[in-house]
């Protein structure tokens, strides 16, 4: 299980980073969303994995999963939701105002293009 979770977090991070390095706001935002999934899982994993254990107090079970990271992740999810909403709308506003959704202020010219000129 641990290997699956760790590799999943890693894969989502990699995907997130790749999209983050694109040049248009939409894929960049998707990249950040992927990173958010990854980091939420990571934060969750800091309580270690437990399967079929309740975070709710029941009289029957002797052991519980760590509830604290869950609470932290919940907070993190909510906050990142707010952030995503803002950046999506700002990206949209910038696109409508500037008629371009390029993330680079120097318009289409980034380091690789620059190196060529």
């Amino acid at each position: 299980m641990e290997y699956l979770l760790a590799s999943a977090i890693g894969a989502m991070t990699a995907a997130g980073i790749y999209l983050l390095l694109r040049q248009r706001t939409f894929p960049v935002i998707l990249g950040i969303s992927m990173l958010t999934y990854a980091v939420n899982l990571f934060l969750f994993a800091s309580g270690r994995i437990a399967i079929n254990l309740p975070p709710v107090l029941l009289n029957k079970t002797p052991t519980y999963t760590d509830p604290l990271p869950q609470a932290l992740v919940l907070t993190a999810i909510v906050i990142s939701f707010g952030m995503t909403a803002v950046v999506v709308l700002m990206g949209l506003g910038a696109y409508l105002s500037a008629r371009t959704d390029h993330v680079n202020l120097n318009e289409g010219q980034d380091d690789s293009a620059e190196a060529g000129k």
């Binding site: 939420n40 934060l43 052991t63 932290l72 950046v87």
Partner: protein, 522 residues
Amino acid sequence: MNHWIIAPVLLPALIAAVIILAARYQVALQRVFSVASTVGLLGISTGLLIESMSGRIGVYELGNWPAPFGIVLVLDRLSATMITLTSALAVAVVLYAIGSGWDKRGHHFHALFQFQLMGILGAFLTGDAFNLFVFFEVLLIASYGLMIHGGGAVRLRAGVQYVLYNLLGSTLFLFALGTIYAVTGTLNMADLALRVAELPADDTAMIRVAAILLLLVFAVKAALIPLHFWLPATYAEAPAPIAALFAVMTKIGAYAIIRMYTLVFGPDVAVTADIIGPWLMPAAIVTLVIGMVGVLGATHLGRLAAFAAVGSMGTLLIAVALFTPQATTAALYYMIHSTLAGAALFLVVDMVRARRLSEDDAIASRPAIAQNGLIAAYFFATAIAMAGMPPLSGFLGKLLVMDAVRAHDLVWVIWAAILIGSLIAVVGFARAGSMVFWKVETPPEGTAEDAAPHAPAAALPFVATGALVAGIVALTVFAGPVTAFLSDTSAQIFDRQSYIAAVMETPRAIEAENLPLEGTKK
């Protein structure tokens, strides 16, 4: 129970809610609330500052849960200094925003401003690492709104970059916190300090990663190279009062570094000692140089001010990176100075921009602006302060920093960087000032009548900027008592035990039976 400690967080939050609820469409009313709130905050934080001078560390246990299980707010000399500085700056900034009419150029300026203050003040007061993250997010999201206040394509695009960059920072923060929790099992800073100190010697890799990731998070805020890239465009494009308020935003990063890397990963914590100061120092030196070179290389006043801010962060972080009481005193003094001076500089730049026909801030000759002499005098004063020229506090701060680095291996490099950096900045400021204020373009014939320069009549912007300049002067004149207090402050910072004892002083027994927890070593 001293509830005043939480007042700096609650007051702006409630005032912001009142503004949204009752004064959504009445700018005049918003202004009244906003000014009342900031003045109130200044009063409260001054009271807390005076209280902190006794040396007793105030702890506020939210929800009545003892540390480390609940969240605590901690008032020591350092946090009291920071909140007082922020509140004082906020008063000047809000007055400028009102006087210049910036607050009317979009919606929700005052509500967002109050929320921003709440986030900043909360970040200074909290004693919990995750709560610090939450307050970072509060202040960040409010800053996103304030940064694009007034709109415009360029500002929006710069704003998107600012947001994206800081989202990366927030993500990194969560990675760091997850790692910290996974190693230590706690989030309270005082408890962290205890647990990190007791870590087994063969288990250092994870905590080192956590420490360095956290450092990078704060480095983003503090605009440390190579994580400073968000700053120039953001500061240059943000509305002037907001750029001025942002002068304290970078200081949050510096504050967090001081707090975290003296308390938790202090210089005497062996596992991280080799990667904090030794890595921070060269980066800080490069930051200083890049910032000062930017002052010379800037073609617009806004960018000039932004790079001056980067440069001052470099100087500040050099002092921080030493992690000695003496250097921390220097850092704190320089921090107060550069906050006031940086903010004043942005306001002066805005005064120029508002009065130009072209409404730009290019460092080029333009027709004479109204009140040229007075604004030039302000610019001269703030430029002297930012460049670290005598007689203002910038020079004293610089001397303190240089004096503090004496024993460091890189002392010659640091001295050279600081002095040459100052020289570059002086040349840059002189160039900009003489171009903008002296080399006045005569308007073409015939346009003289209708092309009368914009002359915003309000005196409030001058008062607000003047107040900041007066603050710099006061910081200079009263350097003796101020440094004496800051010296006590840094002594308290390095007295980790008293902080830990204050926070963890109520070791209430765990009341119910101890339930076995999966993933916990028994």
